[in-house]
């Protein structure tokens, strides 16, 4: 329901932004010389977007603009194309924006943005999960603020689990494998995931990184060189391989998470890892055949416990911004407690502020908020580096080879480590 709402909103938003852009010169010229103009590059809803781009907190936004004497212009683009346009603009040295949405791209584009988040008010920072800064921190400086808590958790079909005799979702890897096996029969599968695209957050490599942390491993050592070639890395991949017979065989061909989500929502797969926003689609009878049966839980624990990865939807401020202070104030407005509450109530994107996440009204509207909050108590590192795309292509491709049986898990992990070492060394040379 709310997805459909926001779909409509996005198009209205687009028009509104277009109308602002086409105002006659004299209306935006000298008469308002002291107003700051801020340009924000944002994803289009239903991906996470700020007030004015998505339909929430619009009155508060208008008041903020009036009080601060600021004009805000949104440039919005469908999420999958954001990085291309951004990279082109930064590469040519002419990025026209003040505030830019980023998703794990902070280390890669770090030299184009400023570490403004160090100057955010303490009261605000104290209300944010500290781990949420890990993907936006480079050399100890904070370049961004994550504005929605988006962690991978386990989504499952309660009815299918009930039928197979599982009263609760799997708590650890063994239960996960057993449960997946029991659920696989008559064209239904225990598990489904998108293993088609090796790269990026939500790609094959990032799923393996989730299991890697659950196995107690990490990607890089202190010197920045990869250290994942060990038992944890191999165990993580072996788990994925062991799950394959009970995983929808199409998974290896699903290039986007949407391809896998639909299998779960059609009721033909029992479990998958997914992002909190998926709750909306799963509860919409137009999109989902398992309304009422969708449930979520924290990810099953590996040898080192549960762990996840972070979707890292963050606001950053560009180096070329002429009004960096005003831009920071706008981000503070986006992170305002009331705005954050409307964000989840009206668009379905969870807030990042711990106080809002704990709000009973929020938890009632987003039943999975408590699960995500619980998941946030466990580690969630996305291992984002300047080479993230290249590293995840290399690792993800090796993981795919293991999943297809072309290589053993140990061999794939060893080869992946060699490739990642070469990538890191080339950057440093």
């Amino acid at each position: 329901m709310s997805t459909r709402m926001s779909r409509r909103t996005l198009l209205q938003g687009t028009t509104a932004a277009g109308a602002v852009a086409s105002l006659p010169r004299f209306m935006t010229g000298p008469a308002f010389a002291d107003t700051a103009k801020l340009s924000v590059f944002s994803p289009l809803p239903p991906d996470p977007a700020p007030p004015g781009a998505a339909k929430f907190s619009e009155d508060a936004f208008a008041q903020w603009k009036a009080a601060k004497g600021a004009e805000v212009e949104y440039e919005m683009l469908a999420w999958p194309q954001l990085h291309d346009r951004m990279a082109t603009a930064f590469a040519s040295g002419s990025a026209p924006w003040d505030i830019v949405y980023m998703c794990g791209w902070v280390p890669e584009l770090q030299s184009n943005i400023i570490p403004y988040a160090d100057a955010l008010p303490k009261a605000l920072v104290d209300d944010l999960p500290q781990s949420s800064f890990s993907t936006v921190t480079v050399d100890g400086k904070r370049y961004g603020a994550v504005f929605t808590l988006s962690l991978l958790t386990l989504f499952y079909n309660k009815a299918m689990l009930d039928q197979a005799g599982f009263k609760a979702p799997p708590k650890d890897w063994d239960e996960l494998k057993r449960c997946a096996k029991e659920l696989t029969h008559d064209g239904n599968y225990g598990f489904v995931l998108n293993y088609g695209d090796p790269a990026g957050i939500g790609g094959t490599a990032s799923y393996w990184m989730t299991y890697l942390q659950q196995a107690g491993g990490k990607m890089y050592g202190e010197d920045g060189l990869p250290v994942f070639k060990g038992d944890a890395g191999v165990d993580a991949l072996q788990l994925m391989v062991d799950l394959m017979p009970f995983t929808d065989p199409g998974s290896i061909s699903y290039a986007g998470i949407n391809d896998a989500t639909n299998v779960l929502l059609a009721g033909r797969a029992g479990m998958m890892m997914n992002w909190p926003f998926m709750w909306n689609a799963g509860s919409d009878p137009k999109q989902s055949k398992i309304v009422g049966n969708l449930a979520s839980a924290i990810l099953p624990a590996g040898p080192a416990g549960s762990a996840s990865i972070d979707g890292t939807d963050a606001w950053t401020i560009t180096k070329s911004s002429k009004n960096p202070d005003k831009a920071r104030e706008l981000v503070e407005f986006y992170l305002d407690a009331e705005v954050q509450k409307r964000q989840v109530l009206d668009t379905g994107w969870l807030p990042i502020r711990l106080s809002v996440l704990a709000d009973p009204e929020v938890q009632a509207k987003a039943p999975n908020a408590a699960v995500v909050l619980e998941q946030a108590k466990h580690p969630y590192d996305s291992f984002v580096t300047a080479d993230y795309n290249e590293v995840t292509v290399a690792v993800g491709t090796e993981v795919q080879k293991a999943l297809q049986g072309q290589k053993t898990a140990a061999q794939a992990i060893a080869d992946a480590q060699d490739q990642v070492t070469a990538i890191v060394k080339r950057r440093k040379s």
Binding site: T88, S92, I257, A281, Q287
Partner: protein, 282 residues
């Protein structure tokens, strides 16, 4: 058996032609039919196994959603129309004379020039995207329908030149010679003799230029921001990071393909008819 009858062929040949046409229709229309069916179904019907196409599953909801978005789609269609018409008109206006000259007039090194023009198409757009963006943003022409249309000339013009040159090369020399004997100048020959008998290839070239400009995605993505956004970018909005509203995307695609189909219907006779007869009579 008369010659006219022979053109239809014997029963065997006619059977083969009918079979071929059936295969052709299934091959061309099959996926298109599914496109249209998808635009009329809810997502939950599309993810059923097999897809649920019972009459009760059909709905106009996707079109309602997309038309509620008409402001963005309408603007996109308008922008695409301007870009496509501009780039089609200019590439024909510049391409047809160039093709004629390279085919028929004593331009030095005509073959080399023609090959050079083709060679501009051999570097993938991905490689020239960033330098092109730098150049255009220095000129302050990012997000302009005009600069996008101009950039589209870079792939439309060479193709138009090559399509037309091939056809001009095939025109019997006698026709032009007769015109020259009648005292017609080069320009008059081109305008009054060559162009009128070249309607089908001109139409083919125009259709090519229009469709390519109408549907181009990559340059539109990097060279526009908000106000010059074209149809393909609007269609792409229906595929987000976490979900694709497939029915709505297909509904947008149906709407966006409509103008092209209308053009094709209007010009269907120009697209391939009447060349050979006109020429032999002339």
């Amino acid at each position: 058996m008369s010659f006219a009858r022979r053109q239809h062929g014997g029963p065997l040949l006619r059977g083969l032609v009918v079979l071929g046409l059936v295969v052709f229709v299934v091959w061309s229309a099959g996926p298109v039919v599914w496109l249209i069916v998808s635009s009329l179904l809810e997502q939950q019907a599309l993810i059923s196994q097999p897809p649920d196409v019972s009459p009760s599953a059909f709905t106009l909801d996707n079109f309602v959603q997309v038309i509620a978005a008409a402001a963005a789609l309408g603007k996109g269609i308008l922008n695409s129309l301007m870009v496509a018409l501009f780039s089609t008109a200019v590439s024909l206006a510049l391409g047809a004379p160039a093709a004629y000259a390279l085919a028929r007039l004593p331009v030095p090194r005509a073959n080399n020039i023609a090959f050079l023009i083709l060679a501009t198409q051999m570097l993938p757009g991905i490689a020239i995207a960033i330098p092109l963006f730098i150049a255009i943003s220095k000129l302050g022409l990012i997000d302009s329908v005009f600069s996008l249309g101009f950039v589209y000339l870079s792939f439309n013009l060479p193709i138009v030149v090559w399509i037309l040159r091939g056809f001009f090369l095939g025109i019997p020399v006698g026709i032009e010679r007769a015109a020259a004997v009648d005292g017609a100048g080069v320009f008059a020959t081109f305008w009054h003799i060559v162009l009128p008998i070249s309607i089908p290839p001109l139409a083919a070239a125009a259709v090519f230029a229009f469709v390519e400009a109408w549907n181009e995605f990559f340059f539109a993505l990097i060279l526009t921001r908000q106000s010059a956004q074209t149809v393909p970018l609007v269609i792409a909005q229906f595929a987000g990071q976490y979900q694709t509203v497939f029915g709505q995307m297909m509904a947008a695609a149906v709407i966006s393909v409509a103008p092209v189909i209308v053009l094709a219907i209007v010009f269907r006779n120009q697209i391939v008819r009447g060349f050979a007869d006109g020429m032999t009579k002339g």
